[in-house]
Amino acid sequence: MEVLQLIQSNLLTPIILFFLFGIIAARIKSDLKIPEAISEFLPIYLLAAIGLHGGIEMRNAGFENMLIPMLVAIGISLLFTLNHYQILRRLGKFNLFDSYALASTYGAVGAVTFSVGLSFLKNQGVTSEGYLAAILAVLEPISFIMAIFLTNMAVAKQIRAKKQSFTNDDVSDIEIGIQETKTKLSQVLHESITGKAIVILLGCIVIGYIIGEEGFSSIKIVFDEMFTGAIVIFMIEMGIIAGQRLGDLKKVGAFLIAFAIIMPTFNGIIGVLVATTMGLSLGGAVLFGLLLASASFIAAPAILRHAIPEAKPSLYITSALGITFPYNIIILLPIMFIVSSIAHDVEGSIDLFNYITWN
């Protein structure tokens, strides 16, 4: 199937249609809204389902092969975060705070995006490695911690520089600054790791691993069969919020809009290729790419607002939810699927150059 065709058929799945519907509802200023309690519950539910599914898969297939992909994911994630920072600070001329906040928003991962990816693969009849849920959990805090560490280092350096130019005898303020940085970092570390997303995800991976297919059977209807229906409801709300944010796009500016499309494409395709090289399956490579392509729009604000309060949330939320998320699930996901198909075909039969013409 060709890219455009796949994009088109993806566009016509319930998940994407409900998302677009939500955007339209927001644009025409409808009062439609999923009640807060429901839209707060749905991500918990989705993460629980992802975790259980991952845990059960890991029990079935083992997780010996998990270590290398996880370490590679962490490494790439950190590299990408640094790369984002350089691009945003130097090319984009964003200030220190916004640059680090945006860099880590795009270095982090989006659990909702991952859910949509899982559903997409299910729809294509393709499976994936269960341990990717574990990688999702581990990647969550990584880029935040790095960005916060670097921001605080940079701020401390600035303070130090300023101090030295004024007086030379009084360094206690700098020490206080560094001390504060440490406190902040340990707080953020704690907040990240005990954040509900990671806790429910890791917890359910462990539970899924313990109970296996058999124990799962009694709750399968809720945590498996209703999965897509639940995403679809959540997508209405995501569409509404994204739609409300579209008005802020002018605040975001052309540079960041371009960044929010090009960067995920680059990160995602690298991800697919690296994953393929490490031996992940066709579907697994797509999800691995999606992890790297995705930006965080639920966890990010909660962490960054405390850690880098100087950064403008309107920038990082709007670009992650208003641009990157729709782009990722509508366009990039099919693209990565084709790339992964080609890459896996290559490995199997060195058919790369003939693929596009003949298939």
């Binding site: 509404i240 607002r305 405390h306």
Partner: protein, 100 residues
């Protein structure tokens, strides 16, 4: 019933700033407060649609006059610049001053 004059400090701010406010209160040895989620509009635009984290919260603190000034000062200094936040002070009367 004899009533005693104290102060009521009300802070309306974004939900993610609640922790900071409560930390400041704790620093000044105040552990009694009341909070609730609200929506609002102001210089930073409409708040209350969208994600829960983008709502506001009100923090209300009954306290004796002597602590008020320091707390208001610290909140103003550390938070006015970066957070959507409004605060105001009220004169109120209570029965049991020893509680505050």
């Amino acid at each position: 019933m004899k009533l005693y004059k104290v102060k009521l400090l009300t802070v309306t701010c974004e939900i993610l700033a609640q922790k900071n406010i409560i930390q400041i209160l704790k620093k000044h040895n105040i552990t009694g407060y009341t909070t609730y989620e609200v929506e609002g509009n102001g210089a930073r635009g409409l708040r209350g649609q969208g994600f829960k984290n983008e709502k506001n919260v009100k923090v209300e603190v009954i306290m004796r006059e002597d602590k008020l000034s320091d707390i208001v000062e610290e909140i103003s200094r550390t938070m006015f610049a970066n957070f959507a936040l409004v605060l105001y002070v009220n004169d109120i009367s209570v029965v049991r001053t020893e509680k505050f």
